[in-house]
Symmetry: C2
Subunit: 345 residues, 2 copies
């Protein structure tokens, strides 16, 4: 039957191209993957093959190639929440670097939950990505070591709290950043009673930023007031909740240092809804510099991290390892921060 072919039009393979060009399949492969070091092909053959490729609309089958080369040209990335502008920008930076290396990025949200973090690792290992970038929040050292040992691929993480001897770390010295910003609030702005809106101690940035805050108070001769030290869970809603709790307790500090912008915005909105003026009654300082920080009124004073730089550093560290597997040990890369002064302080 003549319809045998047309009934189930399959993607053409290298064999089809080879047949049309009158050469063998490996020759097609060589034409398409020619490198300086590899075998040479005559211009004549090359031209015929390329013509055949064109005529058939041939596309290499990435799956077959990956099976043979043991490389998938894909890296996995796990972050807490892509809707967070900070992570989003970071992810885009990673993608940009990856694209330069002809890699794709498989992105996953962990939603700050341990379950999703583990699920990501399972998937990623099964998928056979070539490397992993992640922001582990809940994963233990033991988990990380387990997955790392099983996978035999490089890992690069954001967060100085990860101590694994063979995993590269990009970090921001947020303890120092919080320290400096707090000192600035006290010394330059003159706030005397300061509160801190943090997150649970089991979440990595919590204790570090609290330490920086507390140290600044001490160094300025103030003391940490437990009434004004209170935790949320990173969400805008929890920022509002914190304010309600403070108001119920009856007294407010003159400035609040908040561990992330989303909560800081919640704090501002809740304060305003309760009739307080920001910054005259209570000043608010955030952390991250997400796009919403410029939308809220008063615009949010915040400690800006450089998510683009962080993403680039993560990606570059990973690709260095992919290109040179002999790199060993734990490498550290510090990314900078900057205080962005707006109207909320």
């Amino acid at each position: 039957m003549p319809t045998k072919r047309s009934a189930k039009r399959k993607q053409p393979t290298m064999y089809d191209v080879a047949k049309l060009a009158g050469v063998s399949q490996p020759t097609v492969s060589r034409v398409l993957n020619r490198t300086e070091t590899s075998a040479q092909i005559s211009a004549e053959t090359s031209k015929r093959v390329l013509a055949a490729v064109d005529q058939l609309g041939y596309r290499p089958n990435v799956v077959a190639r990956s099976l043979r080369t043991r490389r998938t040209q894909t890296i996995g990335m796990m972050i807490a929440d892509l809707s967070n502008g900070f992570y989003h920008t970071m992810a885009r930076a990673v993608q940009d670097v990856a694209r330069q290396h002809n890699y794709e990025v498989l992105i996953s949200n962990s939603d700050h939950t341990y379950e999703h973090e583990k699920h990501f690792c399972e998937i990623v290992l099964g998928r056979g990505v070539d490397g992993v970038i992640m922001v582990p929040i809940h994963l233990t050292e033991a988990d990380l070591d387990h997955y790392f040992a099983q996978s035999h691929i490089p890992f690069v993480v954001l967060g100085i709290h990860v101590q694994h001897p063979n995993i590269d770390v990009v970090y921001v010295n947020d303890e120092r950043a919080t320290y400096e910003a707090t000192r600035w609030l006290i010394t330059d702005c003159g706030y005397q009673t300061l509160g801190f809106v943090g997150v649970s101690d089991i979440l990595p940035p919590g204790p570090r930023r609290l330490r920086g805050f507390a140290r600044a108070l001490t160094d300025c001769g103030l003391t940490l007031d437990p009434r004004f030290t209170i935790n949320g869970d990173f969400t805008l809603e929890s920022g509002k909740q914190v304010v309600h709790t403070l108001i119920e307790r009856g007294e407010l500090p003159s400035a609040l240092v908040v561990v992330n912008d989303l909560m800081a915005i919640g704090v501002i909105l809740a304060l305003q809804e309760a009739g307080y003026n920001v910054p005259d009654d209570v000043a608010v300082l955030g952390f991250d510099d997400i796009p919403e920080a410029t939308i809220v009124r008063p615009a949010l004073t915040t400690i800006a991290q450089d998510p683009r730089d962080i993403g680039q550093k993560l990606a570059r560290a990973l690709f260095e390892r992919l290109e040179n597997p002999s790199i060993e040990g734990r490498r550290l890369f510090e990314s900078s921060y900057k205080l962005i002064m707006r109207q909320s302080t």
Copy 2:
């Protein structure tokens, strides 16, 4: 103490498992992929195999499986901009449905550019995903047809403007939504001079929403004033720009209908910076209901689409086709909208 395992240790394969369990490789395969309809395995063998799997920490190689089965358990999704809350929620909904089907989602941003849209198609076809969900903005019918024909996989898109005879469409009747909201502004709120902030006609939602707006004016006995009909490019910055242009021209309408929330927020901020009161001097109506709409003050009145529902409809349509390839033709799925009244009108 992290395990220091030899770096060259390979992942175990089915052969390794088979050897350890004293069976053949296909038997291992059968034990792991047992279905009701497939061959049966004795409980004894099954137990030995599973024990061996456990002992070696075996994980199936997804790449090899994909090559053989011709399925990658991955779908590709292209959207304009993941940092946009609307697309983000939609993407999450797609991922949720995908997860239920044991599928992964490869996400890509097009940034509203034609180049990126085509690049996505190239990559996705090469990657061999099993299906595609996208929000094509610039791709022409010819492009879509070309990629669709080459790939032999199902496509599902968001946007009624796509007319391909074999591509399913999910859409929101945004022309009617804009019409109704505009009528409401005129009839119930009493605004008499209305302006429209749109986007270029070559961007799909532009003409549709403008038509709805214009039709409402006509039906209420008003006429479209070209001085108050002006275009931006979806970004917050361009929303601000539009206001500057209007102010330079010397006159402002009493209400502005804006085709998306991000621009609407830019409009509000720029109006306030110029000393105008929203909504007393100028009312603003947005479209999308992104999270920032509740952060800006006054909170933005907007037409809410249901991104979660849209994502689910897209994903379900796609999986229906994946599970039943005999489905033919262009199927239409409408998703609802709702006017969310806040303080900007």
